[in-house]
C-alpha cells in the first residue's frame, strides 16, 4: 500500500474513532466497544492462524477464563481493575500455557480437535460452578479505576478500550516483525530448516499460543466489564468458531485483519439480527459463500481502493 494512501486511511480512521462517542448513541457506542474487544481477541487468534499456521478451535475458552477469573476475583472483594485485570489475564496465560503445551505436540487437524476438546472441558467447568450461577452465569460489578475513570460511563469505557486496543495492535505489529515473529513464520513454512538452525519450533509456538490466550483473556475481561454479565457461553465452541470467522473475514496473517474482521462480524450479526429472527442462517450462508468465493475478498477490496494499485490495473 502506498504510504500517502495508508496515512490518509489512518487519519480518517483515527478521526472516526475519536468522534464516535459524540456521533453515536449509547447503544451504538457499546457496539463499537464490542468490535474493539473482539478485535483484541481476533488479533490474538490471528497470531496463531496467520503467523504460526495453527488453527485453534478453542480460543473461546480463554475468553471465558479471563471473564470468569475477573468475575470471581471481583466477587471475592477485589474491585480495582489494576489488580483484577492483570490477575485475570495471567489466569488466561496460565491456562494457555497448559493447554498449549499439550496441544502443540500435535499439528494440523489434531490440533484443531484437541484445542476444541480442551475448550469443551473448560466450558463444563464454568457450567459446574454452582456458586457462580452454573449454566445461567452471574452478574459482575464493573471494576473500578482508583477514581480515575468512571466504569459506568460508556464514553470513558470506550476510550479505555480504544487505547488498550491501539497499544495491543502496535505491540503485535512489533512482535510479528521481530526475530520472534520471523522464527514463528519459519516454523510454519519449514520446521525442519528451523530445527537445523538450532531453533525450537515448539518453544516459539508455545509462546505465541500463550500470548494469544492472554489476549483472548484480556478481551474476556473487557467484555465482562462491558456487559456486566458472565455466562459459560463465553467459552462455548460456537464462540471459538466465531473468533476464527473474524480472522478469516478480515484476512489472516495481517494483525489488522483481526480488527477489521471483528468489526465486520459484530456489525453483520447486529444488522442481520435486526432484519431477521433467523439471522444465524444468513450468517452461515455468508460464511460459506465467503470461503467458497476464494480468499482475501476484503483485502482485494482494499487494494482496489488503493489508487496506485488501480493505476496498475
Amino acid at each position: 500500500m502506498n504510504p500517502m494512501f495508508r496515512n490518509t486511511i489512518l487519519v480518517a480512521l483515527a478521526a472516526i474513532f475519536a468522534a464516535a462517542p459524540w456521533a453515536l448513541d449509547e447503544f451504538s457506542l457499546n457496539l463499537v466497544t464490542r468490535m474493539l474487544i473482539f478485535g483484541i481477541a481476533a488479533m490474538g487468534v490471528d497470531l496463531l492462524v496467520g503467523f504460526a499456521g495453527l488453527v485453534p478451535l478453542g480460543h473461546a475458552a480463554f475468553l471465558g477464563l479471563g471473564a470468569y477469573a475477573a468475575g470471581i476475583l471481583t466477587d471475592m472483594g477485589l474491585e480495582s481493575a489494576f489488580v483484577v485485570w492483570p490477575l485475570a489475564i495471567m489466569v488466561g496465560a496460565l491456562g494457555a500455557a497448559i493447554i498449549g503445551g499439550l496441544s502443540l505436540r500435535s499439528s494440523g487437524l489434531y490440533f484443531i480437535m484437541i484445542t476444541l476438546a480442551f475448550a469443551q472441558m473448560i466450558y463444563y467447568v464454568f457450567q459446574s460452578l454452582r456458586a457462580y450461577g452454573g449454566d445461567d452465569g452471574f452478574a459482575l460489578t464493573r471494576n473500578t479505576f482508583a477514581g480515575l475513570i468512571d466504569p459506568y460511563d460508556s464514553r470513558a469505557f470506550y476510550f479505555l478500550t480504544l487505547a488498550i486496543t491501539l497499544v495491543i495492535f502496535l505491540l503485535l505489529l512489533r512482535v510479528v516483525a521481530s526475530p520472534f515473529g520471523v522464527a514463528l513464520r519459519a516454523a510454519r513454512d519449514n520446521e525442519a530448516r528451523l530445527a537445523a538452525v538450532g531453533l525450537p519450533a515448539f518453544g516459539y509456538r508455545l509462546v505465541a499460543f500463550i500470548l494469544s490466550g492472554a489476549l483472548c483473556a484480556f478481551a474476556g475481561v473487557l467484555l465482562a466489564n462491558l456487559t456486566g454479565y458472565i455466562t459459560p457461553g463465553y467459552g462455548s465452541w460456537p464462540q471459538s468458531g466465531e473468533l476464527l470467522m473474524m480472522v478469516l473475514l478480515g484476512t489472516a496473517g495481517t494483525i489488522w485483519g483481526g480488527l477489521l474482521g471483528a468489526a465486520i462480524f459484530v456489525a453483520l450479526s447486529e444488522v442481520l439480527s435486526e432484519v431477521s429472527d433467523h439471522w444465524m442462517f444468513y450468517l452461515g450462508l455468508l460464511i460459506v459463500l465467503r470461503v467458497l468465493l476464494a480468499g482475501g475478498e476484503t483485502t482485494k477490496l482494499l487494494k482496489r481502493l488503493d489508487p496506485r494499485r488501480r493505476a496498475d490495473g
Binding site: Y110, I112, H278, F281, G284, V291
Partner: protein, 296 residues
Amino acid sequence: MTFSLFVEQVFNGLQLGMLLFLVAVGVTLVFGVMNLVNLSQGALVMMGGFLLATATKATSSYWLGLPLGIAALIVIAMLIELLVLRRLYARPHIDQVLATFGLMLMFNEGAVMIWGRDPVFMAIPAALEGSVTLLPGVAYPIYRLAVTIFAGALGVALHFLISRTRLGMLIRAGADKREMIQLLGVDIAFLYLMVFCLGGVLGGVAGMLLGPISAVTTGMGDPILILALVCVVIGGLGSVGGAFVAAMLVGMCDTFGRVLLPQALGAGTGQAIANMIVYLVMAAILIWRPAGLASR
C-alpha cells in the same frame, strides 16, 4: 451399585458407544479419504431426526418413514458434497472448518425455520415398545436394545463394505495413495461423493435412532458431533477401527461416569467431573499416544 444397575449401564454405554461410532465413522472416513474436516456431520445427525419424524408423521408409519427419511438424507448429503465440500478438498483446514461451521449454522437455523424451536417428540414404533428381561430381575427397554443391535449390525456391514468390496478397496486405496488411484483411472470425484454420502447417512441414521430416545431438537447434533470428534481423535484420524474402540471407550466412560462419580464425589463435584471425564480420558490418551490409538 447393584448388579442389575451395572448390567443396565453396560447396555446404555454400549448404545451410546454404537451411536457415537456411527457419527464418528463419517467424520473419520471423510478425513481419511478426502483429508477434509467436516463439522457439518452434527447437522446431518439432527436432519436425520427431523426427517424421520416428518416422514413418519406424513406416512403415519415408522417403517415407511425410515426408508423415506434415509432417501432424503442421501439427497441432502449429495447436495452438501456437490455444492460445497467438493470445492474445499484442496483448501487449507481453516477454510474447511469455517465453511462446514457455516453449514452447521445454516442447518441448525434452517431447522428452526422449518420445524420451529419446540422439540419434536417421536413415539417408539409399536413393535419395539415395552421391555425385555435380560437377566432375572434386569429389565431393559426393547427399543434401546434394538438400537444397539441395529447400530452394531451397521458397523459390521461397514466393516465388510470396507474390507471385502470393491468400493471398500477404493476407499482404502484413496486413503493411502490418492494420486495413485486417480492415475489408475478411478473416478475420484464419484468416489468422494460416495464416501461422503455413506458417512453422512450413517450420522443421519444415528440421529434417527436417537429420535424416540431423546426428543428431536435443533442443535441436537452439536454435542454428539463434539463427542464424535473426540472419538475420532482418540482413535486416530482416518482409522475406522480406532474410531470404534474409541467410541466404545467414550460411551462407557461417559455412561459410568455419570452414574458413579456423583455417588463417589457428591452431586456437585461428581457431575462436574462426569461432564469432563471424556475429555480427561482424551487428554490422558493423547499424552500417551499423540496421534491416537491406531498409531504405531
